[in-house]
């Protein structure tokens, strides 16, 4: 296994493990305030210290991982669930009116800066984790539609597709039976990368107060709350920052590693 793939698995796995574990166990209750214990540096009792309300940072990071991963996962799910079928349809109808409509609609979404529109959406619908998911998910649709169409087009020129057409199969059936399985690896890689972008976007929205609402801990809001304390207790800013950085880095490494491992052309070039 290559180093990047290994590191990616390790970091992403760590975040996933923390999120999973937080469902059943955290060192402290994250809704429990202990103002007398506020802004303690890391110690044996509080491994990553406490924040300005005396909450245990380690527990907060664990639950925050859950929020981030849940939001990003569902957002990627929305993007794939809608984007992949659209991309497949566009590729099947290459050059036709359906292709034109789908791809121009994609261009339209792409034309807006994603985070700004996400802010607009959450501002209009009210800040919540669900609305953050919707906002991030919408911007994942054109990404998946384009990647799907782009990798499906060369598949459509292959002889086995023609053979399937001679066997009387329709476009939808061919897309599902032949095209989708053969582009799955590309989509998996893209999903990993979109997942990391989703975590970043969630952190960004939470930072400006439009993501998950208190008392649900979120890495982005932890950063925002730490802003004024950073000079007093640097760890309150560093810890959530590092959590975001390492998770996103891990997912990107994982995506790159998977791309290399799954793409036979790159495998030979090493």
């Amino acid at each position: 296994m290559r180093l990047s793939l290994f590191l990616g698995f390790l970091l992403a796995g760590l975040a996933l493990f923390a999120a999973g574990l937080s469902l059943i166990w955290t060192p402290y209750d994250v809704t429990q305030l202990a103002v007398t214990q506020k802004l303690r540096p890391p110690s044996a009792a509080h491994w990553l210290g406490t924040d300005h309300l005396g909450r245990d940072m380690f527990s907060m990071i664990m639950v925050g991982a859950r929020t981030s991963i849940a939001v990003a996962l569902v957002a990627v799910g929305i993007g794939m669930g809608i984007g992949v079928p659209l991309g497949l349809a566009a590729a099947a109808d290459r050059g036709g009116w359906l292709d034109e409509i789908i791809m121009r609609a994609n261009d339209l979404i792409f034309a807006f800066p994603s985070l700004v529109i996400a802010i607009l959406i959450t501002a209009a619908l009210g800040p919540s984790a669900v609305n953050a998911i919707i906002a991030i998910g919408i911007f994942n649709i054109p990404v998946f539609a384009r990647v799907t169409r782009g990798s499906a087009l060369p598949i459509w020129t292959l002889d086995y597709i023609r053979a399937a057409r001679v066997a009387g199969k329709g476009m939808a059936r061919i897309s599902l039976q032949h095209v989708l399985p053969n582009i799955a690896n590309v989509l998996i890689v893209q999903a990993t990368i979109q997942f990391s972008l989703g975590i970043l976007a969630e952190a960004g929205l939470s930072y400006v107060g439009l993501g998950a609402q208190p008392p649900t801990p979120s890495w982005g809001r932890m950063l925002a709350e730490a802003q004024t304390m950073a000079s007093l207790a640097p760890h309150v800013a560093i810890v959530p920052g590092l959590a975001i950085l390492l998770t996103v880095l891990g997912l990107n490494l994982l995506g790159d590693g998977l791309r290399d491992a799954l793409d036979p052309r790159l495998r030979g070039a090493r």
Binding site: L158, D159, Y160, R162, A163, A164, R165, V166, A167, G168, K169, G170, Q177, H178, P181, N182
Partner: protein, 525 residues
């Protein structure tokens, strides 16, 4: 004089080339023949020092007293191009699409010979003239995409000979070209060897090409040279059994089946299809090319009809129209009396009477499906019978694939086996007509002969009609009753195969026949 002595190439314990010795004389052409995977290209790469990393070489490459094996890359780089040069099968990828042809030829001269830009360009002009791309029609400012395949191969040759190498290695340089273009390129190479006095190592799988070109022949099998010698004696009296096999395959003729008069199965009447040429930003109508221009043809039940033409003649478009994958702009296509319209409107029962086998044994199958599922795919048209597994096994047995093939994936099979599986897939729903779109073109000689014989057998057993599409007249001669010659979207000549081959009426047919290489009669021992 360049000589390879006992060249052995190994890759992780595996011996890829075994004690290959070749003597390449200035002014002589040496043909290196063998089937795919026999080590021909590896021999060439070893000689020019371009083996993939991880392979180790033993033995000696003696270039005028100097051993090239083991020289550092920096020294070898100086020898490549200057002393040894190479051209490849695919001329498109050998040229830089963003550089004009003149600049590409001049660049090598400028970089390595130290010529100033103007002199280099003048020399490039002279080299391009020499390969037949003469001044007024082919200015130095042309780009590769503005040239045909044959012209690009000429540019690649001009590049290779720009610094007057002692040895030119040509790896299947005409395999991707049409027959008439191939004849011209072979003429050019012959002339270059004579005029420039260089040695030419010509790698090919095609015995007819070697017979018409080479002074000496070396036959390779499984990484070793099994026989070598002057061309004529080698062809006349081959010593090694493998050479005899190859020659027998090249000369074999499946017995011709003459079909009795029977009702028409496929009737194509005045069918046309044209395509827009590119997207023009200017106003006005986009130029259109008539890919198929009022073509009519009839295939009777049980008849094998050949359709011959060079690339771009419209035979692929015609195939797509017949298969109902594309809409004709005019004319009608009838199968068993019923009209064919493109798309899903073709009734399944009608579509089931027609199946296809494609050229590329690698692209014809979904790599993720098992053979069982692949062969059963056409059952989509008829509904899957309860005994479909037995039917699949039976169809595979019919084409000579036995054993545990059903659960395996396509990458586990060789090219010849894949074409057999493609035939099984076409046969599974017992169609009346099978369209064979260059179905044997990508196969090695011996495998090709076997598949052709199989086709002849199946035709009798299942009362099949074939539409046999090919660029190769000699293959068509072996298996068809009637032949159609297509050029620029039109059928220029048609008639019984033997008549068309022996007494062609149209000038283009004569041209094609003249360009088709055959092993000369005098070489037959």
């Amino acid at each position: 004089m360049i000589e390879a002595r006992k060249l052995t190439v190994t890759h992780r314990e595996q011996v890829l080339l075994h004690r290959v010795s070749l003597k390449l004389t200035p002014g002589k052409i040496t043909g290196l023949v063998g089937e795919s995977g026999s080590g021909k290209s590896l021999t060439a790469l070893a000689m020019i020092g371009l083996l993939p990393p991880g392979m180790s070489v033993e033995g000696m490459i003696d270039m005028q007293g100097r051993n090239l094996v083991g020289l550092p890359e920096s020294v070898l780089a100086g020898i490549r191009g200057k002393r040894i040069s190479m051209i490849f099968q695919e001329p498109m990828t050998a040229l830089n699409p963003l550089m004009s042809i003149g600049e590409q030829v001049a660049e090598a001269l400028h970089l390595h010979e130290g010529l100033d830009h103007k002199t280099a360009l003048a020399r490039a002009r002279e080299r391009l003239d020499r390969v037949g791309l003469t001044a007024p029609r082919f200015p130095l400012s042309l780009y590769p995409h503005e040239l045909s395949g044959g012209q690009r191969q000429r540019v690649a040759i001009a590049l290779a000979i720009s610094r007057r190498p002692d040895l030119l290695i040509a790896d299947e340089p005409t395999t991707a070209l049409d027959v008439t273009t191939q004849a011209q390129i072979l003429d050019l190479l012959r002339g270059l060897v004579r005029d420039e006095g260089m040695a030419l190592l010509f790698i090919t799988h095609d015995l007819a090409v070697v017979a018409s070109l080479a002074d000496e022949v070396a036959v390779m099998q499984r990484g070793a040279i099994v026989e070598q010698g002057p061309t004529e004696p080698l062809f006349r009296a081959p010593q090694h059994s493998y050479t005899r096999d190859l020659l027998a395959a090249a000369r074999s003729m499946p017995r011709l089946i003459l079909s009795a008069p029977s009702p028409a199965l496929l009737e194509v009447e005045a069918v046309s299809r044209s395509y827009g040429l590119g997207r023009s930003r200017q106003t006005g109508p986009t130029p259109r090319i008539k890919a198929v221009d009022r073509v009519s043809l009839t295939i009777h039940e049980g008849e094998a009809v050949g359709l011959v033409g060079e690339s771009g003649c419209g035979k692929s478009t015609l195939t797509r129209l017949i298969l109902g994958l594309d809409m004709p702009e005019g004319g009608t296509i009838r199968l068993a009396g019923q009209n064919i319209r493109a798309g899903r409107k073709i009734p399944a029962a009608l579509r089931a009477r027609m199946q296809v086998v494609f050229q590329d044994p690698f692209g014809s199958f979904d790599p993720r499906w098992t053979v069982e599922r692949l062969v059963a795919e056409p059952f989509h048209l008829t509904g899957r019978p309860r005994d479909w597994r037995e039917r699949v096994a039976e169809a595979l047995y019919d084409v000579g694939i036995t054993g545990d093939a059903l659960r395996r994936h396509i990458h586990e099979f060789s090219g010849g086996q894949r074409q057999r599986i493609a035939l099984a897939r076409a046969l599974i729903i017992r169609p009346s007509l099978i369209v064979l779109d260059e179905a044997v073109s990508a196969l090695d000689l011996r495998v090709r002969t076997q598949v052709l014989e199989l086709l002849a057998r199946l035709r009798v057993r299942h009362k099949l009609s074939y539409l046999f599409i090919s660029h190769d007249l000699s293959v068509v001669r072996q298996v068809t009753d009637r032949v159609l010659i297509m050029r620029q979207g039109q059928i220029v000549e048609s008639g019984p195969t033997a008549r068309v081959m022996d007494a062609p009426e149209h000038s283009y047919t004569r041209e094609l026949l003249a360009a088709t290489l055959q092993i000369p009669d005098k070489y037959v021992g």
